[in-house]
Symmetry: C2
């Protein structure tokens, strides 16, 4: 059964949103002391001399529903999403540890099926699972921590006025695949390709390592270019201009967007979960970085994000998956 792994708010409660909660939690931890090169707030943390670490939770009934989830796909994606954070730092994966809280009603066979997907992704990404922990729990939760190495991590914070904004690969495919899966309409070859993009994202590990020395700023596209460009703008203290007409829309996405009355560029900018790399780099590096990139905008003086092209709307910049 081909099933969607559902995109979902990472955290939301009545009192505070995700970012306020993280800020409060970071404050509660107090001073970290010396020895941390880059802490909470980027794709991953960096510790001297060259260790990069990131962690992600996948929670039943938040990030996926049991009834509609392919178990191996779930395992694959849990690891892939974490490894994508390493890719976005330009790091080479060293390994991963996986905590499994096995929800009541889940069988050992189902847990094994999830781990088979984790193992497949581990081999694909060169990120072996070296340890873990198991517990029972009311619901199934996976906690995946990945670590890697890079001598020169690429952060979100270095974009410079005059830089080009560019992206690897293509956009919109994951969200289109998710919609097709939910509609039970992923039977054609074209639809199956989009569904596969949603279920089995492949982190851009090699591209991230090649790009890191050439870029001023880099992050992975997890929530859509519209949101992630804003993160880059905020971290770098610049304005990011995105040309929606320039986005590399994955084949087949246009039809899915059109059926919903959305411009393909706007759809691709807000879809999320493509796990491409979004970079700001000098014009001269665009052709020489060694990685195929599509120019999708530019870095300007100012703050925030602005859009040009069909479907441009300031509200795209306000897209927040916590509120949707």
């Amino acid at each position: 059964v081909a099933c969607a792994v559902h995109r979902a708010p990472a955290y939301h409660c009545r009192e505070v949103g995700e970012f306020e909660l993280i800020a409060r939690l970071a404050g509660a931890l107090g001073e970290t002391g010396p020895g941390v090169l880059l802490g909470i707030g980027d794709d991953a943390a960096v510790l001297p001399p060259d260790l990069v670490v990131s962690t992600d939770l996948v929670v039943e009934d938040v990030h996926f529903r049991r009834a509609t989830t392919g178990l191996a796909d779930l395992g694959w994606k849990a690891l892939a999403v974490a490894v994508s954070d390493l890719a976005a730092m330009g790091a080479a994966p060293l390994g991963a540890v996986v905590g499994l809280a096995l929800g009541s009603g889940w069988s050992a066979d189902e847990a094994v099926a999830i781990y088979e997907g984790v193992g497949e992704c581990a081999r694909e990404c060169g990120c072996p699972v070296v340890g873990g922990d198991v517990s029972r729990a009311a619901v199934l939760m996976l906690a995946v921590t990945v670590f890697g190495r890079t001598a020169a991590p690429a952060t979100r914070g270095g974009a410079q006025v005059g830089d080009v904004l560019a992206v690897t690969g293509s956009l919109g495919g994951s969200e289109a695949g998710r919609l097709l899966l939910e509609a039970g309409a992923a039977d054609s070859a074209a639809a199956a390709a989009l569904a596969h993009r949603h279920l089995r994202p492949v982190p851009r590990v090699a591209d991230g390592r090649i790009l890191a020395p050439h870029v001023h700023a880099m992050l992975d596209v997890s929530d859509g270019v519209a949101s992630d460009a804003r993160r880059l703008a905020d971290a770098s203290g610049v304005c990011v201009e995105v040309d929606l007409d320039a986005l590399p829309v994955q084949p087949g996405v246009e039809e899915v967007a059109a059926a919903r009355g959305v411009e393909p560029g706007a759809f691709a900018a807000t879809g999320g979960e493509d796990y491409e790399l979004l970079v700001a780099l000098p014009e001269a590096a665009l052709a020489t970085s060694g990685v195929p990139l599509t120019r999708i905008g530019r870095i300007l003086a100012g703050t925030g994000v602005r859009f040009t092209g069909a479907g441009a709307d300031e509200a795209l910049a306000g897209f927040d998956h916590l509120q949707s």
Copy 2:
């Protein structure tokens, strides 16, 4: 409110026990490929050249109950238990990442209180929290991953016939403290010390680093010497003899044990959660390792664990916190 953080089965379901489940999950992951020095099965994994990693889950209604849990204590202990695995490898902590699945009904204020305890422990252990993730969930879960460095990790597998079995510090205090807390009898100064031992364990980080070059095998005492000695015996392919009369029983424990009709040595050997270091080392190293150690037994040819002294019973070796 002083409250117990409850000791609980890490995992148990009708079908399979914890160790069988871990073995099946490890099998499902497939080949890890080259580049892993020590994978699943010791206190922590080791990756070249010198990275040590371990992960632990703390789950509501499994490892603790909300109604009886001190929030800062919970945070402290979640990190301390993970750091103890680094100590048991002889590693210096580099940092930690914390995944928080905030259960329904938990407030941001409560999460902050938990993290304050995490931060206190992080400063005590020199293990800064450098990142994390947050999600909502049906129940609260903390997933703590720690990483450290050592050029010469101490494993469980190197004990040699003729070695001395020894332990740092004292035993039995955590379990005595837990019992006093559950009975609401932790008011006296002596009882409060035991309760503190249970609620705020301090990993033997410095001792572990000093001991590592001197020992043949080392692990931390998480489930009680009786169980952990068996792990050492199994990993090393030796028989471990434990003299219950020689165990360094923490002051105040004898009274708690006596009230339950248990010999103090048997109580201290099975109590668990002391987070001392259990080592096998050459006789000559016992006095010269630089760490105060108590001799509690010896390494013999054979398999399994045997006990001498008051309360000795082969069933102690069969103690399994999954079945209790």
